[in-house]
Symmetry: C3
Subunit: 437 residues, 3 copies
């Protein structure tokens, strides 16, 4: 089922709301960078040619990302911001039918399949979802048969032309024509792309909206969105694969689908509740519980940790921690007893400060977001949605209630105790307590 369609992955956006992480396309989930997940998905769906639009900052390492056999990938770099600029950049790389995708959005296989099955040859198709609430994006003006006449960008609340919100998965029957049209809108970085689609629709007669179940679409805008994509990828894991080199000690329980890579050791008393991915050479110590998570290579979870619904990078060290609904970068360690709070006391929706603005995360469970090369001391506590910048130290016992910039050292304000010498109280013997043992 080889498709004639070329997929264009728009990876030239910046990751400005993604701190403490740096780049979405190379972010590793379940052992593979996000872009490789796209490549494999497209290949699985019959697409064999991909064009990746990079920007000047990420171009170099995007080219280092592995490409599956049977897939051909071309790279082009967009010089200026905006999706319309990305279009102009691909002019020489493709022609004919094109599937345009935002590289930082990931779809369930079933979602993309629905879209591809919904395409009519020679008709523009625009992906969309129904949100059920106001969304500050592009709405589709459609008729009763979901035939689109116009994209209306950010209508006022109450003036939405429908409840159908556009997401960036577009089928363009003739990309060359579209690029020609787009050239006239190239000065509008913010919405030149949508203007071009509107103009193209006017020329071509009509377009089709293909409405996907909103659970099929997992965009990554904020760092916690990584959890959404990880959850999807974990849920799509097919069966259990445990490398034959994996050492599993006695009294280990493994339930549900898991992928456990070579060199992993799992010690006694531990339970793995799939879907779980564990990367190469990672050591899962005694009496751990690991649930619905992706853990990178070369990690050590030590004794007694609970890692739940989290994404952990490579080379991370834990020891008697609770890591819940959290995203942890590479080379991070937590001291014994450190806990990531993942619920507000009132169980309410958790907010996060992004670029000095308070953002609703849409989650009532969200732990910590930790950049690379961070050390957290013993018995510390991180509050929900706190972001810790890379290359930082957080001292023992801290209750971390605010975001921390990169390269910070967070320590107690002053010695939090008094020492009274020559106290008269004396430790008693505990012999009497032994009686009940």
């Amino acid at each position: 089922m080889k498709s004639a369609i070329t997929a264009v992955l728009l990876a030239g956006g910046e990751s400005t709301r993604f701190a403490p992480f740096t780049e979405k396309n190379s972010f590793i989930l379940l052992g593979k960078p996000l872009l490789l997940w796209h490549y494999e998905q497209l290949l699985r769906l019959g697409i064999t040619h991909v064009v990746v639009v990079t920007n000047e900052l990420n171009d170099e390492y995007i080219k280092t990302i592995e490409v599956p056999e049977k897939l051909t990938v071309s790279y082009v770099t967009q010089k200026n911001k905006g999706q319309v600029q990305a279009l102009l950049a691909i002019e020489k790389e493709c022609s004919g039918e094109v599937l345009l995708l935002n590289a930082s959005d990931y779809y369930a296989d079933a979602g993309i399949t629905t879209f591809l099955h919904g395409i009519d040859k020679n008709t523009i198709a625009l992906g969309a979802i129904k949100t059920g609430y106001y969304f500050p994006g592009g709405y589709l003006k459609v008729d009763a048969n979901n035939i689109v006449s116009e994209i209306i960008e950010k209508p006022k609340i109450g003036e939405e032309p429908s409840d159908i919100v556009r997401i960036l998965i577009d089928y363009i029957p003739d990309i060359s024509l579209f690029i020609e049209v787009a050239k006239k809108h190239s000065s509008n970085a913010a919405s030149g792309y949508e203007e071009a689609v509107n103009a193209l629709m006017k020329m071509s007669g009509n377009a089709k909206a293909i409405v996907l179940d909103k659970n099929m679409w997992k965009p990554i805008k904020y760092p916690w969105n990584v959890l959404d994509v990880a959850e999807l990828l974990l849920s799509e894991m097919k069966g259990t694969q445990i490398d034959k080199s994996v050492v599993i000690k006695e009294h280990v329980i493994i339930e549900g689908p898991v992928v456990i890579e070579s060199g992993v050791k799992i010690f006694e008393g531990t339970k793995i509740v799939g879907p779980v991915y564990i990367g190469k050479n990672t050591i899962i110590g005694n009496n751990n519980i690991i649930r619905s998570s992706s853990i990178g290579d070369d990690c050590v979870t030590g004794f007694n940790s609970d890692i739940t619904r989290s994404v952990i990078g490579n080379n991370c060290w834990f020891h008697t921690n609770y890591v819940g609904d959290s995203v942890v970068g590479n080379n991070v360690s937590m001291g014994s007893g450190t806990v990531t709070a993942n619920l507000r006391l009132d169980d309410g929706e958790i907010q996060s400060i992004i670029k000095e603005e308070k953002i609703n995360t849409g989650r009532n469970k969200l732990g910590v977001l930790v950049g690379d090369n961070v050390r957290i001391g013993v018995n510390a506590s991180t509050m929900p949605a706190i972001k810790i910048g890379s290359d930082s130290f957080i001292a023992a016992g801290i209750v971390l209630t605010q975001d921390i910039p990169a390269r910070s050292f967070v320590r107690p304000i002053a010695t939090g105790f008094v020492v009274k010498e020559n106290t008269k109280a004396a430790a008693t013997s505990r012999d009497s307590f032994r009686k009940v043992l």
Copy 2:
């Protein structure tokens, strides 16, 4: 063995020293309110008619408490304070032989049996204990055969007429006569009852003291007394009853008598050390230890909790907590790593502030006392005997050293840390540590 005796349960007292809990009679222990424990015990001992004396505040819900088949219960409400007023209230509800009991005192089966066996028909019998130390209550003036001539209320220290202290379990051969006598003392709320007994003894010739082993008597005055009654009820559990719907995973150890109700799930690596009661649909997670405790319905203990010698209400959530010698109300949750300290550093007797007065609790092990609807954050610590009022929030990392009123939010005084930016120290790789694993 059906008895002609009517039991009168005096439940009209206020629970003014019982905060953060509200009402003793409806307090649920091992799945049943205290009053139902009384009903079942009385029925077990052959008593089939009970009169419950309520007050205007608790009358309504006391009437909602289940009554066992074969037991008939009448309710009367006392309008004014004092046990003598309770007597007057029951005038129309009973006649003949009566066993008068304080509903907030619970007895071992063997204790009540001793009392009932000790009764001589037609002779007043007064329950008592030997304390071994001064007790600010009523002392019995007795002869060598434990024939009582007088109750002496609160004698001065050194002037006690004996070492026999009265507790409120009285057998009255002719309750109507007693009530007649009591009417003359009805203006004395504090000790009109005892005056009436004294007068009755003068009329009837004599009364008998029945001295019980003091361990047979478990009065509930302060909130921690709940632990005493729970310990007694747990110790009286007959054998093990595990509902057939209970799910018990691998590597679970269950020792000693346990009652485990329907719908309970117990996960791997957990140990239950009886006597333990676990209510309906409660989930005991992985690697927990539960000892000598009563846990309510619909609770979740999460991963790695230790619940020991405690009473837990319904709908409580734990996660890697130590809850020892504690009483926890309904709908309470503790964040991961939160610990209830249950010993002073010097192992000394623990004190509590009740109505601004420092009270010796008589315990050297006592944890926390938590009202309903409380949320405690992660890595918090509660000091021994601390009372947390209902509907309160305690923030993460707090070391709670004082009682907290209902509807409070306890949070750190200020951000307890400084953030030094652009630190030069850098996280190193931990590869060298892997060698020893």
Copy 3:
């Protein structure tokens, strides 16, 4: 293989840098005081007569230390400080060949064997190591055949006569002659001994340096050096010895060589990773991990503790603690959740303050050093290398960042929280969270 050599153990030094511990010779490791380990080692190597040089402070209890059958021990007390004074003290106790050893240095069996095999009858032999870095001690001036002409005390950096540093294990063929020589140097407490060796070498023609692998030599100067000796003793444990009275419950894993003494109980879910020593009647609770450690008699590890590379005295109580690379005295308890940090955040070399001077410990892993009779509350944290003096209390939640003198009470500076009453936020039901369980 009975040797004609008399061993002289110099135990008359003070333990001034050993706080919070008091005396090295009686410090118990793997169930025996250090001096008994010396006795057994010497006997194992064929030496049957030992002279112990005590001081006036430790003489009494050194004499109480058990002496193995087949070994004869004489005690002499040195009145003044200095090794040369120790020499003068033994004059009447021995003659002929003598092996002089510092009692606070312990050697691997292989180290002492190397030394004894290296001896030539009638030739002075001086033990030494190659450090590879500057060491503020005595250097040996040697020729190509390791023939020593002189000890040079504390040469300036760069002026060392060789890379061979003397350690105090000396073979003296004629102790009487040596003592005669030493008398002339008796006024120099600091280096009279070395002056005497130099003078003796001038008289006797020459001496031989016997260079030991530096890993064979474990001197105890600072309290953390106890860990080095314990590590050596553990590594020299021969096979596993578990007393027949030991109770081991289900699901316990025991790996590697262990010695487990009588009366020990080990509960379910626990793992012991040898080499480990566990003293009499100690209770290892559920779900513990014990690695590479020596634990004394009558301890209780409670639920969920991790004790790793540590030395624990008698009568210590733990409960959900991490104790790593730590030395804990007798009658110490830690509250639930208390953690000993054993790594700096930058993984760097850990320093300690000894007599107001900052000392490099030579370790990047080092936990806490706790004297006798100490109580630490719940959820406390101790920073690496912190010393807690005996008879002290450390309150709950403290992050202990400085050394604490004996008989101290460490508590928070002030109530670290505010209580806001009549908060409007309310605890919600957690029913919705149950769906995922």
